[in-house]
Symmetry: C2
Subunit: 199 residues, 2 copies
DNA sequence: ACCATCCTGAAATGAGGATTCCAAGATACT
DNA sequence: AGTATCTTGGAATCCTCATTTCAGGATGGT
């Protein structure tokens, strides 16, 4: 009976993700969204609700479609330290070159803004951190099983360390950090965790 | 001949630092500044210029009065690894409890926002990073002179790593990260750099 | 062909944003 | 005391913000 939507909500939300990702929620107006998506204001509000709900939907989409696939791949990779090395390699590549260069990570960016005081946003942030850390942990346990870890290394603390390192990479890359330096830093971190010359 | 200022620009700027630090520049209005400082709009603009100049002045003040003293203390401390450990201890303490708990670091926060596209802001960010890294490096060289570093450790790469770790601590603490976990993570990082049981 | 139902476009709303203007007040030197 | 010079308070400006409203258009089941 009713009329049908004249646009694809999924494609629209992807466009919104990129807007909020690059500029942050506080610096992005609804007008920017209207212009970028080509959707009318009314349809926008009818489909997604207000700006806060739109941001939340975009943040959740980022977590699900951008972060979690990387986490899963890392956690399920059976190679141990090389998997972690590859994870960081891909991260630095994505942060420093290509379409999203210098955008940082949408979730990391959310940590620093005023949006993190919203409980629902905070929940996404915590979930992101938990899953990142857990993926690191799983990969480190795999590495340990294969004798890749140095004697004193604690997988739990190392997972925390590597997770925090990822946030550091995300932040500094947004301000123009050199990819080669970031790679060298990550290599040193992995080298200090693993048995010498394992990474 | 002229009338004299009826307020203390230095105290006012300190108030502004705290506003921008906590809420970010995009979420802080000039009205907020007027209310918090008690200064009139006209005097504000006559003294500091517009919002962007005010933010820059606040950011530079933060770097000079909050960051640099910590960096200097670290660089000049002759104890080596214990100095680095103490630096992170004080950092985590400041980020997780007391007056500025959950505010993060104003410079780290600036990395994630849209303000980082301003070249003058970017310059402050780069300067902050350079000085943080250099202080770490100096302290690591001191540690190396005293035989506190493990055989394969490279002071340069380790300095990069610890600097990025600090950004991670700043970010995650703003989203409510547990102080004990952060301490444990830092301890593990230092442990992996130093000779066993040195930190 | 009808019509209830939803979608769309553009304008309207009202709050809040940064910035400027100006009259009135305060200052310190002559 | 007079006056040039600066500060101050508060209103005024103009723009952008998020959100709502509503008339008209499109849809698909009957």
């Amino acid at each position: 009976m009713p009329d049908i939507k004249h646009f694809d909500p999924d494609a629209a939300l992807e466009t919104v993700v990129r807007l909020f990702w690059r500029q942050g929620v506080a610096s992005t107006g609804i007008q920017d969204v209207v212009t970028a998506t080509g959707i009318n204001r009314s349809s926008l509000y009818a489909t997604f609700g207000g700006k806060q709900e739109l941001y939340l939907a975009a943040l959740r989409r980022y977590l699900e479609l951008r972060s979690q696939p990387m986490f899963r791949r890392l956690a399920e990779d059976e190679r141990g330290l090389p998997a972690i090395s590859e994870f960081f390699g891909a991260l630095i590549e994505a942060r420093c070159s290509g379409e999203y260069a210098r955008w940082g990570c949408m979730v990391s960016n959310a940590h620093a803004g005023a949006e993190n005081s919203d409980p629902e946003v905070r929940a996404v942030l915590d979930r992101h951190h938990q899953e990142l850390r857990d993926a690191m942990y799983a990969s480190l346990v795999t590495a340990g099983r294969q004798g890749q870890l140095s004697a004193g290394a604690d997988p739990g603390a190392s997972a925390d360390l590597l997770a925090l390192l990822a946030y550091g990479v995300n932040l500094r890359s947004r301000a123009g950090a050199d990819a080669a330096t970031l790679r060298r830093t990550v290599a040193a971190a992995l080298d200090s965790i693993g048995v010498r010359a394992a990474a």
